[in-house]
């Protein structure tokens, strides 16, 4: 079976002031459809770089990143953009870009713009998804820019789910001031992924935020370390296969 996402000997350098830093050093991993993977790492450990490569936002310096068997580097920028508006959803708490005065339901509905729906149909679908993530009819009419971080995360999740992605990439969604809110958000995320058979790739600098994932990894000093045996493939109950290793 072709993995949904695979990294093969992927390296990535980033510039830090005047010098180049090797952020990922020949990293290999495979994530199958429906698998959930949590990536733990301290600040500047390379987890965001890993996620941006997975979402096709950045390209590897060497090695191959494949989504559904296709080499991301061989896609055009337009193809990668379409992928990011369809099969891959990328969520980052820092990526909140609601327009001034826009309602929550409209913010979610505009994500469906590329699907050829009328605005009325898009709003109807957005309301359904908002309800699924715990935002009721009253909350849907609020001004999006006035939401708290916790509410924003739920709306961002609704916006991501609206496009029916096969892979949801979530970068550093922790930072929620209330631990109860954080745990509820993660429980919601896990159940949404399970119900849709959607793969999850989540990174956080809080290990507790990654509880309940199928495979837990850490990234540091360019290397991945995983709860999976290196090079082995382990079937995760009801979640398909996930594998992580560093080769070379």
């Amino acid at each position: 079976m072709t993995p949904l996402l695979s990294f093969l000997n992927v390296s990535k350098r980033c510039s830090d002031g005047g010098r180049e830093v090797l952020v990922l050093d020949r990293v290999s991993l495979e994530i199958d459809a429906g698998a959930s993977v949590g990536v733990y790492g301290a600040r500047r450990s390379g987890k965001s770089t890993l996620l941006r490569l997975a979402a096709g936002i950045a390209l590897a310096d060497s090695g191959i990143v494949r989504f559904d068997g296709r080499d991301m580097a061989k896609m055009t920028a337009g193809e990668r953009g379409r992928l990011l508006r369809g099969a891959i959803a990328f969520m980052s708490a820092e990526d909140w870009r609601a327009n001034p005065g826009e309602s929550v339901v409209d913010h979610v509905a505009t994500a469906l713009g590329s699907e050829g729906l009328t605005m009325r149909e898009a709003r109807r679908r957005a309301l359904g998804i908002l309800d699924e993530v715990g935002v009721g009819a009253a909350g849907a009419q609020e001004v999006a820019t006035s939401l708290s971080l916790t509410e924003r995360m739920r709306v961002m999740l609704a916006r991501a789910l609206a496009r029916k992605p096969r892979l949801l990439v979530l970068d550093e969604p922790a930072q929620m001031p209330n631990l109860g809110d954080r745990d509820r958000f993660y429980a919601l995320l896990r159940s949404a992924a399970r119900e849709r058979g959607m793969a999850l790739l989540v990174a956080s600098e809080e290990m507790a935020a990654l509880q309940g994932v199928g495979v837990l990894m850490s990234v540091a000093d360019g290397e991945l370390c995983s709860t999976e045996e290196q090079g082995s493939v382990v079937r995760l109950p009801g979640l398909g296969l996930a594998r992580a290793e560093r080769s070379g």
Partner: protein, 195 residues
């Protein structure tokens, strides 16, 4: 991890293994009497270990019985007419230290063992330390993975206590993973600089 005969790792059994291993490292640096080795051990391992001088004498005797140390009666520096037992390494000490560096023993207090290894490691032990640190990092991840997830707000006192315990376990394991990762990074950076 290396596969070694049980004969060669017999001295690595029991909870005092990290101290015995650290003593071998100290002996290789320079011979010493029991009190001197106890002081050096305490200085090296700091506040995290309570090193008892009597224990050190007992451990040195054990190491001598297994052929990894040898004691000689030598005159005291302060008083030439009096002697004390000075422990020296044997031909097997260096190899035993190398084996310890690359052996993760079942039920060993891994963190303390790693700390003891780091305290006396030679530069040639760096690859073994890196492997041990990575194995430890993975072990912590596996433990974190086994902590059952919290699915929302605690609805009872018992559930709240459970949540707080879970949070404490995650906090501890996160610290350990960070420590292992940082140590690996520092070793790698040092090796890159010294090339």
């Amino acid at each position: 991890m290396a596969s070694v005969s049980s004969e060669k790792t017999r001295w690595m059994r029991g909870p005092s293994t990290p101290l015995r291993g650290a003593l071998l490292g100290l002996l290789l640096e320079r011979p010493g009497h029991g009190g001197d080795l106890a002081n050096r051990l305490a200085a090296r391992l700091g506040e995290t270990w309570r090193v008892d001088t009597n224990d050190v004498y007992r451990l040195l005797e054990q190491l001598e019985k297994t052929g990894l140390a040898v004691s000689r009666d030598e005159p005291k520096r302060s008083n030439n007419r009096r002697t004390h037992l000075v422990y020296h390494p044997t031909d097997e000490t260096s190899q035993a230290l190398t084996l310890w560096m690359e052996t993760l023993l079942p039920r060993e207090a891994v963190r303390l063992g790693l700390q003891a290894k780091l305290s006396v490691a030679r530069q040639q032990d760096a690859p073994r330390l890196l492997i041990a640190l990575r194995a430890y990092e993975r072990e912590c991840l596996v433990l974190a993975h086994f902590v059952s997830p919290n699915d929302g707000e605690a609805r009872s006192w018992a559930a709240l206590c459970m949540d707080c315990t879970r949070e404490a376990v995650y906090a501890q394991l996160q610290t350990e993973v960070d420590w292992a990762a940082r140590t690996r990074q520092r070793i790698n950076e040092f090796l890159a600089r010294s090339q």
